[in-house]
Amino acid sequence: MKVLVTVKRVIDYNVKVRVKADNTGVDLANTKMSINPFCEIAVEEAVRLKEKGVATEVVVVSIGAKACQEQIRTALALGADRGIQIDTELNLDSLQVAKLLAKVVEEEQPGLVIMGKQAIDSDNNQTGQMLGALTNMPQGTFASELVIENGKAKVTREIDGGLQTVELSMPAIVTTDLRLNEPRYAKLPNIMKAKRKPLVVKAAADFGINLTSSVEVLKVAEPAKRDGGEMVDSVEALVAKLKDEAKVI
């Protein structure tokens, strides 16, 4: 079974973002960029399936400018077999990304697609579900456990009230939650080997998809600032403040 994994290049999760002074977006110049953490979990899951003999090949795809090849190489160093970069300078919406991915699915015919549940820049949490709808594949979103058995995918999902398990016919889409696994670190020899693994580049413009977004960003602003308050030196003082000043208890 071939597994397709998607990775997005995003600002590193440890970096505090700055909103640009002209309110057109956030300042990404000279900031550390990484694989979206949920995508890293997706790569790890796919590699584990290969190590267990369930998957035969792990193909990783990223859509973005040339720089996202760095994240594809990271995925290759973690154990993916080959990469596809769909080249575009545009900031695509989840729908356009899903449409491009649907074309990749059509061409590659994977038995399973593993994606992050959410990109930590847009915080959209949409692309996997959209890809599911476009390809008529079932989905196991927010997965904390994945078992492939008898040609079905059994997915345990983290939901608001606890956990839910669903069974999906295959091919299927799984989107990862934090508890699915703990990604490994790439070892130096694997980082070297990854440089020689195949990576093809395709132009997004060649897919015959309308890449203009129907959602225009009018403004990006700082959230309302929250100032630190005061320190109290005892439980007694804290309870008094909550009662008399804040009046919340």
Partner: protein, 308 residues
């Protein structure tokens, strides 16, 4: 202009999330129709009919919708939604699961997690873990929106909408429900609680969360947790507050043994009053706390319980 709002419910009752989403829809304007899709869900539909501002309730009562599987819900809602100007749902794990399928089937974008409505086509939503707020404008004929419920108050319940059955049955036949393991608790849900007390890695183990329970009982509070506490297995996943967990905005949020990583702050920084208890005076949580107490939580929690 008519809005189709998909109710969050458990077949017998509608959740508070639905009432909050109705308030967001009211801010958009136009008639509001609420869809209750489930199995044996007439009690939930009757409740939905009482929500103030709702003009009509559609009930799709069929086994195919019992667990609101995304594949079936996607087909149902995209079919029913064709003639509406907006399709809205709360950004719960249910809404997040099926709404993007609806949008893709209708070939329109989805705007996730709106926190403010400017007009019928322009909304605010947080990005980058709430470190920036984007104002976006949609030119789609049908706007598909999920609502960050913590940003809206609940609609009233003095309505009396007509209830209409929907006969369409959409069963994609590609997924099935196996089981659910739902956390049972006598306490209020995180999303609905007036007070939340959360524990982090500093709690050291699950047993120590008992120290929070006594306080929660006295304050009628819900108990939350940081990712570190969930990952370590102290408490179940549904207690995680943060960018990728639950987003809450209670009157009072007490963070105990939580450092205040941006991903945690993203889920609670809109709380009205924040209290931080941490033994490290440099912990970032103090930068946003209204009241900070530098102390060992194992000394302080029993004292706090006694003082309440």
């Amino acid at each position: 202009m008519t809005i189709l709002l998909i109710a969050e419910h458990d077949n017998s009752a509608v959740k508070a999330d639905t009432l909050k989403a109705v308030n967001a829809a009211t801010a958009i304007g136009g008639d509001i129709h609420v869809l209750v899709a489930g199995a044996n869900c007439s009690a939930a539909a009757d409740e939905a009919a009482k929500i103030s501002g709702v003009a009509k309730v559609l009930v799709a009562d069929n086994e195919a919708y019992e667990h609101q599987l995304a594949e079936n819900m996607g087909l149902l809602v995209s079919d029913l939604g064709k003639d509406y100007s907006h399709i809205v749902s709360p950004a719960t794990t249910t809404g997040k699961n099926f709404m993007p399928r609806v949008a893709a089937l209708l070939d329109v974008a989805q705007i996730s997690d709106i926190i403010a409505v400017h007009s019928e086509d322009s909304f605010d939503r947080p990005i980058y873990a709430g470190n920036a707020i984007a104002t976006v404008k949609s030119s789609d004929a049908i706007k598909v929106l999920t609502v960050r419920v913590a940003a809206f108050s609940e609609a009233g319940t003095d309505g009396s909408a007509e209830v209409v059955a929907v006969d369409a049955v959409h069963d994609a036949g590609i997924s099935s429900f196996v089981s659910a393991e739902l956390t049972k608790s006598e306490r209020p849900e995180l999303g609905a609680a007036r007070v939340i007390i959360s524990g982090g890695r500093g709690m050291q183990n699950g047993e120590n969360f008992k120290l929070l329970e006594g306080i929660a009982d006295k304050l009628g509070a819900a108990i939350g947790a940081s990712r570190a506490a969930v990952d370590a297995g102290f408490v179940p996943n549904d207690m995680q507050v943060g960018q990728t967990g639950k987003i809450v905005a209670p009157e009072l949020y007490i963070a105990v043994g939580i450092s205040g990583a941006i991903q945690h702050l993203a889920g609670m920084k809109d709380s009205k009053v924040i209290v931080a208890i941490n033994k490290d005076p440099e912990a970032p949580i103090f930068q946003i706390a209204d009241y900070g107490l530098v102390a060992d939580l194992f000394d302080v929690l029993p004292e706090l319980e006694a003082a309440l």
